[in-house]
Amino acid sequence: MNRRATLLLGALAALLAMLPAFANPYVLSVATLMLFFAYTGQAWNVMMGFAGQLSLGHSLYVGIGAYTAAGLYFHFGLGPWAGLWAAVLLCALAGATIGALAFRFRIGGVYFALLTIAFAEFTRIGFDHFPALGGPAGLFLRVEQREHLDLLSLRGPPAMFYYVALLLTAGAFGLCAWLLRSRVGFYWQAIREDEEAAQALGINVFRYKILAMLVSSSMTALAGVFFAFYYNNLFPEQIFNISRSIEIILGPIIGGLGTLFGPILGATLLAVLADSSTELISALGWEIPGVKQVLYGVVLLAVVVFLPNGVWPVLARKLGLAR
Protein backbone atom coordinates (compact mmCIF):
# COMPACT_ATOMS: atom_id res chain seq x y z
CA MET A 1 0.00 0.00 0.00
CA ASN A 2 1.51 3.31 -1.00
CA ARG A 3 1.33 6.64 0.84
CA ARG A 4 -1.63 7.87 -1.11
CA ALA A 5 -3.62 4.79 -0.19
CA THR A 6 -2.74 5.14 3.49
CA LEU A 7 -3.86 8.77 3.40
CA LEU A 8 -7.15 7.91 1.72
CA LEU A 9 -7.77 5.07 4.15
CA GLY A 10 -7.11 7.42 7.09
CA ALA A 11 -9.54 10.00 5.69
CA LEU A 12 -12.19 7.32 5.15
CA ALA A 13 -11.74 5.98 8.68
CA ALA A 14 -12.00 9.49 10.15
CA LEU A 15 -15.13 10.21 8.13
CA LEU A 16 -16.76 6.97 9.22
CA ALA A 17 -15.77 7.52 12.85
CA MET A 18 -17.33 10.99 12.90
CA LEU A 19 -20.48 10.08 11.01
CA PRO A 20 -22.83 9.69 14.03
CA ALA A 21 -21.99 13.27 15.07
CA PHE A 22 -23.78 14.78 12.09
CA ALA A 23 -25.92 12.02 10.58
CA ASN A 24 -29.65 11.80 11.25
CA PRO A 25 -31.12 8.52 12.56
CA TYR A 26 -32.11 7.37 9.09
CA VAL A 27 -28.65 7.85 7.59
CA LEU A 28 -27.16 6.17 10.63
CA SER A 29 -29.36 3.10 10.19
CA VAL A 30 -28.47 2.91 6.48
CA ALA A 31 -24.78 3.26 7.34
CA THR A 32 -25.03 0.54 10.00
CA LEU A 33 -26.63 -1.87 7.57
CA MET A 34 -24.01 -0.94 4.98
CA LEU A 35 -21.22 -1.76 7.44
CA PHE A 36 -22.95 -5.04 8.28
CA PHE A 37 -22.82 -6.02 4.61
CA ALA A 38 -19.27 -4.70 4.23
CA TYR A 39 -18.19 -6.92 7.11
CA THR A 40 -20.07 -10.00 5.96
CA GLY A 41 -18.88 -9.45 2.41
CA GLN A 42 -15.31 -9.27 3.68
CA ALA A 43 -15.83 -12.60 5.45
CA TRP A 44 -17.25 -14.20 2.29
CA ASN A 45 -14.41 -12.73 0.27
CA VAL A 46 -11.96 -14.88 2.25
CA MET A 47 -13.65 -17.98 0.81
CA MET A 48 -14.26 -16.84 -2.74
CA GLY A 49 -11.94 -13.91 -3.32
CA PHE A 50 -8.88 -15.37 -1.62
CA ALA A 51 -9.27 -19.16 -1.83
CA GLY A 52 -11.55 -19.33 -4.88
CA GLN A 53 -14.32 -21.43 -3.34
CA LEU A 54 -17.78 -20.21 -4.36
CA SER A 55 -20.06 -20.40 -1.34
CA LEU A 56 -23.69 -19.46 -1.96
CA GLY A 57 -24.80 -20.44 1.50
CA HIS A 58 -23.25 -17.88 3.80
CA SER A 59 -26.67 -17.09 5.22
CA LEU A 60 -26.18 -20.39 7.07
CA TYR A 61 -23.44 -18.89 9.25
CA VAL A 62 -25.27 -15.60 9.76
CA GLY A 63 -28.30 -17.61 10.85
CA ILE A 64 -26.49 -20.06 13.12
CA GLY A 65 -24.51 -17.23 14.69
CA ALA A 66 -27.63 -15.14 15.25
CA TYR A 67 -29.75 -17.98 16.60
CA THR A 68 -27.01 -19.28 18.90
CA ALA A 69 -26.36 -15.95 20.57
CA ALA A 70 -30.04 -14.99 20.64
CA GLY A 71 -31.10 -18.40 21.93
CA LEU A 72 -28.56 -18.33 24.76
CA TYR A 73 -29.68 -14.82 25.69
CA PHE A 74 -33.38 -15.66 25.43
CA HIS A 75 -33.33 -18.93 27.36
CA PHE A 76 -30.40 -18.57 29.77
CA GLY A 77 -29.84 -14.82 29.97
CA LEU A 78 -26.33 -15.31 28.65
CA GLY A 79 -25.06 -12.04 27.17
CA PRO A 80 -23.71 -11.61 23.65
CA TRP A 81 -20.09 -11.48 24.75
CA ALA A 82 -20.38 -15.02 26.10
CA GLY A 83 -22.75 -16.13 23.36
CA LEU A 84 -20.49 -15.10 20.54
CA TRP A 85 -17.95 -17.76 21.49
CA ALA A 86 -20.61 -20.42 21.17
CA ALA A 87 -21.74 -18.85 17.90
CA VAL A 88 -18.22 -18.81 16.47
CA LEU A 89 -17.61 -22.35 17.62
CA LEU A 90 -20.81 -23.69 16.07
CA CYS A 91 -20.28 -21.82 12.80
CA ALA A 92 -16.66 -22.96 12.57
CA LEU A 93 -17.86 -26.49 13.18
CA ALA A 94 -20.56 -26.18 10.49
CA GLY A 95 -18.08 -24.62 8.04
CA ALA A 96 -15.44 -27.26 8.72
CA THR A 97 -17.96 -30.08 8.35
CA ILE A 98 -19.30 -28.80 5.03
CA GLY A 99 -15.77 -28.12 3.85
CA ALA A 100 -14.49 -31.52 4.94
CA LEU A 101 -17.38 -33.31 3.22
CA ALA A 102 -17.09 -31.27 0.03
CA PHE A 103 -13.32 -31.21 -0.31
CA ARG A 104 -12.84 -34.81 0.75
CA PHE A 105 -15.13 -35.85 -2.08
CA ARG A 106 -13.51 -33.34 -4.46
CA ILE A 107 -16.62 -31.26 -4.95
CA GLY A 108 -15.83 -27.88 -6.46
CA GLY A 109 -17.21 -25.08 -8.57
CA VAL A 110 -20.92 -25.09 -9.21
CA TYR A 111 -21.40 -28.34 -7.27
CA PHE A 112 -19.78 -26.85 -4.20
CA ALA A 113 -22.00 -23.77 -4.55
CA LEU A 114 -25.10 -25.96 -4.73
CA LEU A 115 -23.95 -27.98 -1.74
CA THR A 116 -23.63 -24.82 0.34
CA ILE A 117 -27.12 -23.70 -0.77
CA ALA A 118 -28.47 -27.13 0.13
CA PHE A 119 -27.05 -26.97 3.65
CA ALA A 120 -28.44 -23.46 4.19
CA GLU A 121 -31.89 -24.40 2.90
CA PHE A 122 -31.89 -27.63 4.90
CA THR A 123 -31.10 -25.68 8.05
CA ARG A 124 -33.71 -23.03 7.24
CA ILE A 125 -36.47 -25.61 7.07
CA GLY A 126 -35.05 -27.31 10.15
CA PHE A 127 -35.33 -24.08 12.14
CA ASP A 128 -38.88 -23.67 10.86
CA HIS A 129 -39.69 -26.89 12.72
CA PHE A 130 -37.74 -26.09 15.89
CA PRO A 131 -40.23 -24.57 18.35
CA ALA A 132 -37.68 -23.91 21.12
CA LEU A 133 -36.25 -21.13 18.97
CA GLY A 134 -39.58 -19.78 17.81
CA GLY A 135 -40.04 -21.79 14.64
CA PRO A 136 -41.55 -19.93 11.69
CA ALA A 137 -43.19 -17.40 14.04
CA GLY A 138 -39.76 -16.02 14.87
CA LEU A 139 -37.59 -15.45 17.93
CA PHE A 140 -37.89 -12.05 19.61
CA LEU A 141 -35.43 -10.52 22.03
CA ARG A 142 -36.67 -7.98 24.55
CA VAL A 143 -35.94 -4.46 23.44
CA GLU A 144 -35.01 -2.39 26.45
CA GLN A 145 -32.87 0.55 27.42
CA ARG A 146 -32.84 1.98 23.96
CA GLU A 147 -31.29 5.23 25.22
CA HIS A 148 -29.16 3.79 28.00
CA LEU A 149 -25.77 2.42 27.00
CA ASP A 150 -25.28 -1.14 28.20
CA LEU A 151 -22.32 -2.54 26.32
CA LEU A 152 -22.27 -5.72 28.37
CA SER A 153 -25.53 -6.97 26.89
CA LEU A 154 -25.17 -4.99 23.66
CA ARG A 155 -28.10 -2.73 24.40
CA GLY A 156 -27.95 0.94 23.60
CA PRO A 157 -28.65 3.77 21.19
CA PRO A 158 -28.25 3.31 17.42
CA ALA A 159 -24.86 5.00 17.48
CA MET A 160 -23.50 2.18 19.64
CA PHE A 161 -24.54 -0.39 17.03
CA TYR A 162 -22.99 1.78 14.36
CA TYR A 163 -19.66 1.79 16.19
CA VAL A 164 -19.81 -1.94 16.83
CA ALA A 165 -20.37 -2.51 13.10
CA LEU A 166 -17.58 -0.07 12.28
CA LEU A 167 -15.19 -1.88 14.62
CA LEU A 168 -16.14 -5.22 13.10
CA THR A 169 -15.55 -3.87 9.59
CA ALA A 170 -12.23 -2.30 10.53
CA GLY A 171 -11.15 -5.47 12.32
CA ALA A 172 -12.09 -7.63 9.34
CA PHE A 173 -10.23 -5.27 7.03
CA GLY A 174 -7.12 -5.50 9.17
CA LEU A 175 -7.36 -9.26 9.50
CA CYS A 176 -7.81 -9.70 5.75
CA ALA A 177 -4.94 -7.31 4.95
CA TRP A 178 -2.72 -9.38 7.21
CA LEU A 179 -4.01 -12.70 5.86
CA LEU A 180 -3.40 -11.63 2.25
CA ARG A 181 0.28 -10.98 3.00
CA SER A 182 0.75 -14.03 5.17
CA ARG A 183 1.92 -17.43 4.02
CA VAL A 184 -1.65 -18.72 4.28
CA GLY A 185 -2.90 -15.93 2.03
CA PHE A 186 -0.39 -16.80 -0.66
CA TYR A 187 -1.32 -20.47 -0.41
CA TRP A 188 -4.98 -19.53 -0.83
CA GLN A 189 -4.28 -17.42 -3.87
CA ALA A 190 -2.22 -20.22 -5.36
CA ILE A 191 -5.15 -22.60 -4.83
CA ARG A 192 -7.54 -20.07 -6.34
CA GLU A 193 -5.43 -19.66 -9.46
CA ASP A 194 -4.61 -23.30 -10.07
CA GLU A 195 -5.44 -25.98 -7.57
CA GLU A 196 -3.43 -28.73 -9.23
CA ALA A 197 -0.35 -26.58 -9.54
CA ALA A 198 -0.69 -25.58 -5.89
CA GLN A 199 -0.87 -29.23 -4.92
CA ALA A 200 2.15 -30.02 -7.07
CA LEU A 201 4.09 -27.34 -5.20
CA GLY A 202 3.42 -29.21 -1.99
CA ILE A 203 0.59 -27.11 -0.58
CA ASN A 204 -1.84 -29.20 1.41
CA VAL A 205 -4.84 -28.03 -0.60
CA PHE A 206 -7.39 -29.80 1.56
CA ARG A 207 -6.08 -28.29 4.78
CA TYR A 208 -5.90 -24.73 3.47
CA LYS A 209 -9.35 -24.84 1.89
CA ILE A 210 -10.74 -26.00 5.23
CA LEU A 211 -8.85 -23.18 6.90
CA ALA A 212 -10.52 -20.68 4.55
CA MET A 213 -13.89 -22.17 5.49
CA LEU A 214 -13.04 -21.87 9.20
CA VAL A 215 -11.93 -18.25 8.99
CA SER A 216 -14.83 -17.21 6.79
CA SER A 217 -17.56 -18.98 8.78
CA SER A 218 -16.21 -17.77 12.13
CA MET A 219 -16.14 -14.19 10.88
CA THR A 220 -19.67 -14.53 9.53
CA ALA A 221 -20.81 -15.88 12.92
CA LEU A 222 -20.02 -12.50 14.48
CA ALA A 223 -22.13 -10.80 11.82
CA GLY A 224 -24.98 -13.07 12.92
CA VAL A 225 -24.54 -12.15 16.59
CA PHE A 226 -24.57 -8.48 15.65
CA PHE A 227 -27.67 -8.99 13.51
CA ALA A 228 -29.55 -10.71 16.34
CA PHE A 229 -28.92 -7.95 18.86
CA TYR A 230 -29.39 -5.11 16.40
CA TYR A 231 -32.72 -6.25 14.99
CA ASN A 232 -33.96 -8.23 18.02
CA ASN A 233 -36.08 -10.50 15.86
CA LEU A 234 -35.11 -13.55 13.86
CA PHE A 235 -37.12 -15.51 11.32
CA PRO A 236 -35.68 -18.62 9.65
CA GLU A 237 -37.46 -17.60 6.44
CA GLN A 238 -35.47 -14.37 6.33
CA ILE A 239 -32.13 -15.09 7.87
CA PHE A 240 -31.34 -18.41 6.18
CA ASN A 241 -32.88 -17.44 2.86
CA ILE A 242 -30.84 -17.81 -0.29
CA SER A 243 -31.60 -14.19 -1.12
CA ARG A 244 -29.71 -13.26 2.05
CA SER A 245 -26.69 -15.21 0.79
CA ILE A 246 -26.95 -13.38 -2.51
CA GLU A 247 -27.15 -10.02 -0.73
CA ILE A 248 -23.96 -10.92 1.11
CA ILE A 249 -22.01 -11.72 -2.04
CA LEU A 250 -23.28 -8.80 -4.16
CA GLY A 251 -21.05 -6.30 -2.36
CA PRO A 252 -17.69 -8.00 -2.88
CA ILE A 253 -18.52 -8.98 -6.46
CA ILE A 254 -19.61 -5.47 -7.43
CA GLY A 255 -16.77 -3.91 -5.45
CA GLY A 256 -14.08 -6.27 -6.68
CA LEU A 257 -13.54 -9.89 -5.83
CA GLY A 258 -10.42 -10.75 -3.87
CA THR A 259 -9.55 -7.12 -3.14
CA LEU A 260 -9.45 -5.61 0.33
CA PHE A 261 -11.53 -2.56 -0.51
CA GLY A 262 -13.97 -4.38 -2.77
CA PRO A 263 -16.43 -5.54 -0.09
CA ILE A 264 -16.55 -2.10 1.55
CA LEU A 265 -16.86 -0.23 -1.74
CA GLY A 266 -19.48 -2.67 -3.00
CA ALA A 267 -21.58 -2.40 0.16
CA THR A 268 -21.37 1.41 -0.04
CA LEU A 269 -22.38 1.49 -3.70
CA LEU A 270 -25.30 -0.86 -3.07
CA ALA A 271 -26.52 1.19 -0.10
CA VAL A 272 -26.32 4.38 -2.18
CA LEU A 273 -28.01 2.66 -5.11
CA ALA A 274 -30.84 1.28 -2.98
CA ASP A 275 -31.41 4.63 -1.35
CA SER A 276 -31.17 6.83 -4.41
CA SER A 277 -33.41 4.52 -6.41
CA THR A 278 -36.04 4.79 -3.66
CA GLU A 279 -35.79 8.58 -3.89
CA LEU A 280 -35.92 8.55 -7.67
CA ILE A 281 -38.97 6.30 -7.75
CA SER A 282 -40.88 8.40 -5.24
CA ALA A 283 -39.89 11.55 -7.14
CA LEU A 284 -41.25 10.05 -10.35
CA GLY A 285 -44.31 8.72 -8.58
CA TRP A 286 -43.76 5.12 -9.74
CA GLU A 287 -44.37 3.50 -6.40
CA ILE A 288 -45.44 0.05 -7.56
CA PRO A 289 -43.98 -2.91 -5.67
CA GLY A 290 -41.07 -4.33 -7.62
CA VAL A 291 -39.89 -1.20 -9.47
CA LYS A 292 -36.96 -0.67 -7.14
CA GLN A 293 -35.77 -4.24 -7.47
CA VAL A 294 -36.01 -4.11 -11.26
CA LEU A 295 -33.81 -1.02 -11.24
CA TYR A 296 -31.46 -2.80 -8.87
CA GLY A 297 -31.33 -5.81 -11.18
CA VAL A 298 -30.61 -3.65 -14.21
CA VAL A 299 -27.70 -1.90 -12.48
CA LEU A 300 -26.38 -5.25 -11.31
CA LEU A 301 -26.63 -6.57 -14.85
CA ALA A 302 -24.77 -3.53 -16.17
CA VAL A 303 -21.97 -3.95 -13.63
CA VAL A 304 -21.61 -7.66 -14.38
CA VAL A 305 -21.57 -7.06 -18.14
CA PHE A 306 -19.35 -3.98 -18.28
CA LEU A 307 -17.15 -4.27 -15.18
CA PRO A 308 -16.60 -8.02 -14.75
CA ASN A 309 -13.78 -7.46 -12.26
CA GLY A 310 -15.78 -5.07 -10.13
CA VAL A 311 -15.56 -1.35 -9.55
CA TRP A 312 -12.53 -1.21 -7.26
CA PRO A 313 -9.81 -2.16 -9.80
CA VAL A 314 -11.05 0.61 -12.11
CA LEU A 315 -11.32 3.12 -9.29
CA ALA A 316 -7.91 2.19 -7.92
CA ARG A 317 -6.34 2.89 -11.30
CA LYS A 318 -8.15 6.23 -11.53
CA LEU A 319 -6.97 7.21 -8.06
CA GLY A 320 -3.43 6.16 -8.86
CA LEU A 321 -3.41 3.45 -6.22
CA ALA A 322 -2.81 0.43 -8.40
CA ARG A 323 0.69 -0.92 -8.29
Binding site: F105, Y111, I253, L257, P289, L300, P308
Partner: protein
Amino acid sequence: MDALTVVDLVLAGVLTGLVYGLMALGLSVIFGVVRVVNFAHGEMMTIAMYVTAVLFGWLGLDPFFALLPVAVVFFGLGYALQRGLINPFITRPEHTQFMLLVAVAIILVNLLLMIFGPDAQHVQLDYLLEPVELGPLLLDRGKLAAAAVAAATAAGLFAFFRFTLTGKAIRACADNHLGALVVGLDVKRLYALTFGLGSACVAVAGCMMILLIDVTPTLGPAYTLLAFVIVIVGGLGSMPGALLGGVLIGVSEALAGLFIAPSAKSMFSFALLILVLLVRPQGLLGKSQ
Protein backbone atom coordinates in the same frame (compact mmCIF):
# COMPACT_ATOMS: atom_id res chain seq x y z
CA MET B 1 -54.00 -44.34 7.22
CA ASP B 2 -54.48 -47.29 4.89
CA ALA B 3 -52.15 -48.59 2.27
CA LEU B 4 -54.41 -47.37 -0.52
CA THR B 5 -54.01 -43.73 0.54
CA VAL B 6 -50.25 -44.18 0.45
CA VAL B 7 -50.35 -45.71 -3.02
CA ASP B 8 -52.61 -42.89 -4.18
CA LEU B 9 -50.17 -40.33 -2.82
CA VAL B 10 -47.15 -42.03 -4.32
CA LEU B 11 -48.85 -42.11 -7.71
CA ALA B 12 -49.75 -38.43 -7.39
CA GLY B 13 -46.10 -37.82 -6.49
CA VAL B 14 -44.97 -39.67 -9.61
CA LEU B 15 -47.27 -37.59 -11.81
CA THR B 16 -46.19 -34.27 -10.30
CA GLY B 17 -42.64 -35.55 -10.46
CA LEU B 18 -42.86 -36.00 -14.22
CA VAL B 19 -43.74 -32.32 -14.60
CA TYR B 20 -40.83 -31.45 -12.27
CA GLY B 21 -38.72 -33.72 -14.41
CA LEU B 22 -39.59 -31.83 -17.60
CA MET B 23 -38.72 -28.54 -15.92
CA ALA B 24 -35.41 -29.99 -14.77
CA LEU B 25 -34.81 -31.47 -18.20
CA GLY B 26 -34.70 -27.93 -19.56
CA LEU B 27 -32.05 -27.04 -17.02
CA SER B 28 -30.12 -30.25 -17.61
CA VAL B 29 -29.96 -29.65 -21.35
CA ILE B 30 -28.74 -26.07 -20.88
CA PHE B 31 -26.29 -26.94 -18.11
CA GLY B 32 -25.08 -30.09 -19.84
CA VAL B 33 -24.38 -28.44 -23.19
CA VAL B 34 -23.77 -24.73 -22.65
CA ARG B 35 -22.22 -25.32 -19.20
CA VAL B 36 -23.93 -22.21 -17.90
CA VAL B 37 -25.82 -22.29 -14.65
CA ASN B 38 -29.27 -20.98 -15.47
CA PHE B 39 -30.15 -19.39 -12.17
CA ALA B 40 -33.26 -17.86 -13.74
CA HIS B 41 -34.79 -21.23 -14.57
CA GLY B 42 -37.60 -21.20 -12.00
CA GLU B 43 -38.34 -17.59 -12.89
CA MET B 44 -38.74 -18.57 -16.54
CA MET B 45 -41.22 -21.25 -15.53
CA THR B 46 -43.11 -18.72 -13.42
CA ILE B 47 -43.43 -16.47 -16.46
CA ALA B 48 -44.77 -19.34 -18.54
CA MET B 49 -47.30 -20.01 -15.78
CA TYR B 50 -48.44 -16.38 -15.83
CA VAL B 51 -48.67 -16.31 -19.61
CA THR B 52 -50.83 -19.44 -19.54
CA ALA B 53 -53.01 -18.01 -16.77
CA VAL B 54 -53.48 -14.75 -18.68
CA LEU B 55 -54.27 -16.51 -21.96
CA PHE B 56 -56.82 -18.60 -20.12
CA GLY B 57 -58.31 -15.73 -18.13
CA TRP B 58 -58.57 -13.18 -20.95
CA LEU B 59 -59.01 -15.27 -24.05
CA GLY B 60 -60.32 -18.45 -22.50
CA LEU B 61 -57.52 -20.34 -24.22
CA ASP B 62 -57.18 -23.87 -22.86
CA PRO B 63 -53.66 -24.47 -21.45
CA PHE B 64 -53.39 -27.62 -23.56
CA PHE B 65 -53.78 -25.49 -26.69
CA ALA B 66 -51.61 -22.70 -25.29
CA LEU B 67 -48.73 -25.18 -24.94
CA LEU B 68 -47.41 -24.94 -28.46
CA PRO B 69 -47.46 -21.16 -28.99
CA VAL B 70 -46.02 -20.54 -25.52
CA ALA B 71 -43.25 -23.07 -26.14
CA VAL B 72 -42.41 -21.48 -29.50
CA VAL B 73 -42.24 -17.99 -28.00
CA PHE B 74 -40.06 -19.23 -25.15
CA PHE B 75 -37.79 -20.99 -27.62
CA GLY B 76 -37.28 -17.64 -29.34
CA LEU B 77 -36.70 -15.82 -26.07
CA GLY B 78 -34.20 -18.42 -24.88
CA TYR B 79 -32.40 -18.28 -28.20
CA ALA B 80 -32.17 -14.48 -28.01
CA LEU B 81 -31.08 -14.54 -24.35
CA GLN B 82 -28.22 -16.89 -25.11
CA ARG B 83 -27.19 -15.07 -28.28
CA GLY B 84 -27.44 -11.57 -26.89
CA LEU B 85 -26.54 -11.78 -23.23
CA ILE B 86 -25.07 -15.06 -22.09
CA ASN B 87 -22.78 -16.00 -24.96
CA PRO B 88 -19.95 -13.58 -24.04
CA PHE B 89 -20.00 -15.07 -20.54
CA ILE B 90 -19.34 -18.65 -21.57
CA THR B 91 -15.61 -18.37 -21.08
CA ARG B 92 -15.85 -16.24 -17.96
CA PRO B 93 -15.60 -17.61 -14.40
CA GLU B 94 -18.61 -19.35 -12.92
CA HIS B 95 -19.37 -16.68 -10.36
CA THR B 96 -19.82 -14.00 -13.03
CA GLN B 97 -22.21 -16.26 -14.95
CA PHE B 98 -24.03 -16.81 -11.72
CA MET B 99 -24.30 -13.08 -11.04
CA LEU B 100 -25.50 -12.42 -14.59
CA LEU B 101 -28.36 -14.88 -14.28
CA VAL B 102 -29.17 -13.78 -10.76
CA ALA B 103 -29.54 -10.24 -12.13
CA VAL B 104 -31.82 -11.57 -14.90
CA ALA B 105 -33.82 -13.50 -12.29
CA ILE B 106 -34.22 -10.43 -10.04
CA ILE B 107 -35.47 -8.41 -13.01
CA LEU B 108 -37.91 -11.11 -14.10
CA VAL B 109 -39.40 -11.72 -10.65
CA ASN B 110 -39.96 -8.06 -10.02
CA LEU B 111 -41.35 -7.34 -13.48
CA LEU B 112 -43.94 -10.00 -12.71
CA LEU B 113 -44.58 -8.37 -9.35
CA MET B 114 -45.04 -4.99 -11.05
CA ILE B 115 -47.41 -6.34 -13.67
CA PHE B 116 -49.48 -8.86 -11.72
CA GLY B 117 -49.10 -7.81 -8.10
CA PRO B 118 -48.38 -10.22 -5.26
CA ASP B 119 -51.68 -12.15 -5.37
CA ALA B 120 -51.81 -15.78 -6.45
CA GLN B 121 -53.45 -16.74 -9.74
CA HIS B 122 -54.72 -20.09 -10.83
CA VAL B 123 -56.31 -21.91 -13.73
CA GLN B 124 -59.10 -24.38 -13.18
CA LEU B 125 -60.49 -26.50 -15.98
CA ASP B 126 -63.93 -27.94 -15.29
CA TYR B 127 -63.36 -31.11 -17.26
CA LEU B 128 -60.34 -31.97 -15.07
CA LEU B 129 -62.27 -31.88 -11.81
CA GLU B 130 -63.58 -35.43 -11.99
CA PRO B 131 -60.88 -37.87 -10.84
CA VAL B 132 -59.94 -40.91 -12.89
CA GLU B 133 -60.83 -44.23 -11.26
CA LEU B 134 -58.24 -46.91 -11.77
CA GLY B 135 -59.57 -49.96 -9.99
CA PRO B 136 -59.58 -48.96 -6.31
CA LEU B 137 -57.31 -45.96 -6.95
CA LEU B 138 -58.34 -42.38 -7.59
CA LEU B 139 -56.09 -40.28 -9.79
CA ASP B 140 -56.29 -36.53 -10.26
CA ARG B 141 -57.24 -35.99 -13.90
CA GLY B 142 -55.26 -32.74 -14.15
CA LYS B 143 -52.11 -34.35 -12.82
CA LEU B 144 -52.53 -37.28 -15.17
CA ALA B 145 -52.92 -35.01 -18.20
CA ALA B 146 -50.01 -32.79 -17.12
CA ALA B 147 -47.77 -35.82 -16.61
CA ALA B 148 -48.74 -37.21 -20.01
CA VAL B 149 -47.85 -33.94 -21.70
CA ALA B 150 -44.56 -33.80 -19.79
CA ALA B 151 -43.68 -37.37 -20.77
CA ALA B 152 -44.57 -36.74 -24.42
CA THR B 153 -42.48 -33.55 -24.54
CA ALA B 154 -39.54 -35.35 -22.96
CA ALA B 155 -39.90 -38.20 -25.44
CA GLY B 156 -39.91 -35.68 -28.31
CA LEU B 157 -36.72 -34.13 -26.96
CA PHE B 158 -35.05 -37.55 -26.60
CA ALA B 159 -35.94 -38.33 -30.19
CA PHE B 160 -34.61 -34.96 -31.36
CA PHE B 161 -31.25 -35.51 -29.67
CA ARG B 162 -30.98 -39.11 -30.81
CA PHE B 163 -32.19 -39.05 -34.38
CA THR B 164 -31.77 -35.59 -35.92
CA LEU B 165 -28.48 -34.25 -37.23
CA THR B 166 -28.86 -31.00 -35.27
CA GLY B 167 -29.50 -32.98 -32.10
CA LYS B 168 -26.39 -35.05 -32.69
CA ALA B 169 -24.39 -31.88 -33.35
CA ILE B 170 -25.55 -30.44 -30.03
CA ARG B 171 -24.51 -33.63 -28.25
CA ALA B 172 -21.15 -33.37 -29.96
CA CYS B 173 -20.74 -29.83 -28.55
CA ALA B 174 -21.53 -31.12 -25.09
CA ASP B 175 -19.07 -34.02 -25.36
CA ASN B 176 -16.16 -32.08 -26.75
CA HIS B 177 -16.35 -28.36 -27.24
CA LEU B 178 -12.99 -28.03 -28.95
CA GLY B 179 -13.64 -31.04 -31.16
CA ALA B 180 -16.97 -29.56 -32.22
CA LEU B 181 -15.21 -26.35 -33.21
CA VAL B 182 -12.53 -28.27 -35.09
CA VAL B 183 -15.01 -30.16 -37.25
CA GLY B 184 -16.65 -26.87 -38.14
CA LEU B 185 -19.87 -26.87 -36.14
CA ASP B 186 -21.43 -23.47 -35.54
CA VAL B 187 -21.15 -23.82 -31.78
CA LYS B 188 -22.61 -20.38 -31.00
CA ARG B 189 -25.77 -21.16 -32.96
CA LEU B 190 -26.04 -24.62 -31.43
CA TYR B 191 -25.65 -23.17 -27.94
CA ALA B 192 -28.41 -20.66 -28.65
CA LEU B 193 -30.55 -23.47 -30.04
CA THR B 194 -29.94 -25.51 -26.89
CA PHE B 195 -30.86 -22.60 -24.66
CA GLY B 196 -34.00 -22.17 -26.75
CA LEU B 197 -34.90 -25.84 -26.38
CA GLY B 198 -34.31 -25.72 -22.64
CA SER B 199 -36.54 -22.66 -22.42
CA ALA B 200 -39.25 -24.38 -24.47
CA CYS B 201 -39.13 -27.35 -22.05
CA VAL B 202 -39.52 -25.11 -19.06
CA ALA B 203 -42.36 -23.28 -20.83
CA VAL B 204 -44.28 -26.51 -21.38
CA ALA B 205 -43.59 -27.46 -17.76
CA GLY B 206 -44.97 -24.05 -16.74
CA CYS B 207 -48.13 -24.49 -18.83
CA MET B 208 -48.78 -27.77 -17.01
CA MET B 209 -47.65 -26.59 -13.58
CA ILE B 210 -50.36 -23.91 -13.52
CA LEU B 211 -52.88 -26.76 -13.51
CA LEU B 212 -51.28 -28.16 -10.35
CA ILE B 213 -50.38 -25.14 -8.22
CA ASP B 214 -51.21 -21.44 -7.91
CA VAL B 215 -48.66 -19.00 -9.25
CA THR B 216 -47.17 -16.00 -7.43
CA PRO B 217 -44.29 -13.80 -8.67
CA THR B 218 -41.94 -15.09 -5.97
CA LEU B 219 -42.36 -18.74 -6.86
CA GLY B 220 -39.25 -18.68 -9.05
CA PRO B 221 -36.25 -19.11 -6.74
CA ALA B 222 -37.70 -22.18 -5.01
CA TYR B 223 -38.24 -23.87 -8.37
CA THR B 224 -34.80 -22.90 -9.61
CA LEU B 225 -33.38 -24.69 -6.60
CA LEU B 226 -35.74 -27.62 -7.08
CA ALA B 227 -34.62 -27.97 -10.70
CA PHE B 228 -31.01 -28.02 -9.58
CA VAL B 229 -31.68 -30.62 -6.94
CA ILE B 230 -33.40 -32.83 -9.52
CA VAL B 231 -30.65 -32.45 -12.11
CA ILE B 232 -27.86 -33.24 -9.65
CA VAL B 233 -29.75 -36.17 -8.13
CA GLY B 234 -30.59 -37.63 -11.53
CA GLY B 235 -27.19 -37.02 -13.02
CA LEU B 236 -25.93 -34.05 -14.95
CA GLY B 237 -26.19 -34.45 -18.69
CA SER B 238 -28.36 -37.53 -18.40
CA MET B 239 -31.81 -36.87 -19.84
CA PRO B 240 -33.50 -39.95 -18.32
CA GLY B 241 -31.75 -38.93 -15.10
CA ALA B 242 -33.63 -35.64 -15.00
CA LEU B 243 -36.96 -37.43 -15.32
CA LEU B 244 -35.98 -40.04 -12.73
CA GLY B 245 -34.79 -37.28 -10.39
CA GLY B 246 -38.08 -35.43 -10.89
CA VAL B 247 -40.12 -38.50 -10.05
CA LEU B 248 -37.98 -39.26 -6.99
CA ILE B 249 -38.37 -35.72 -5.69
CA GLY B 250 -42.10 -35.74 -6.45
CA VAL B 251 -42.58 -38.97 -4.49
CA SER B 252 -40.35 -37.88 -1.62
CA GLU B 253 -42.30 -34.62 -1.33
CA ALA B 254 -45.60 -36.50 -1.28
CA LEU B 255 -44.40 -38.93 1.38
CA ALA B 256 -42.77 -36.23 3.51
CA GLY B 257 -46.03 -34.28 3.35
CA LEU B 258 -47.91 -37.34 4.53
CA PHE B 259 -45.62 -38.63 7.26
CA ILE B 260 -43.98 -35.50 8.63
CA ALA B 261 -45.32 -32.08 7.64
CA PRO B 262 -46.08 -30.56 4.25
CA SER B 263 -43.85 -27.61 5.12
CA ALA B 264 -40.90 -29.96 5.67
CA LYS B 265 -41.13 -31.53 2.23
CA SER B 266 -38.28 -29.68 0.57
CA MET B 267 -36.03 -30.56 3.50
CA PHE B 268 -36.02 -34.08 2.12
CA SER B 269 -35.15 -32.89 -1.35
CA PHE B 270 -32.14 -31.03 0.03
CA ALA B 271 -31.14 -33.97 2.20
CA LEU B 272 -31.29 -36.14 -0.90
CA LEU B 273 -29.15 -33.62 -2.78
CA ILE B 274 -26.52 -33.56 -0.04
CA LEU B 275 -26.48 -37.34 0.09
CA VAL B 276 -26.14 -37.74 -3.68
CA LEU B 277 -23.42 -35.09 -3.91
CA LEU B 278 -21.39 -36.86 -1.27
CA VAL B 279 -21.97 -40.47 -2.19
CA ARG B 280 -22.46 -40.36 -5.92
CA PRO B 281 -21.55 -36.88 -7.18
CA GLN B 282 -22.21 -37.80 -10.81
CA GLY B 283 -25.85 -38.44 -9.92
CA LEU B 284 -27.91 -41.60 -10.10
CA LEU B 285 -27.77 -42.03 -13.88
CA GLY B 286 -24.76 -39.84 -14.65
CA LYS B 287 -21.57 -41.12 -16.17
CA SER B 288 -18.55 -40.94 -13.88
CA GLN B 289 -15.84 -38.70 -15.22
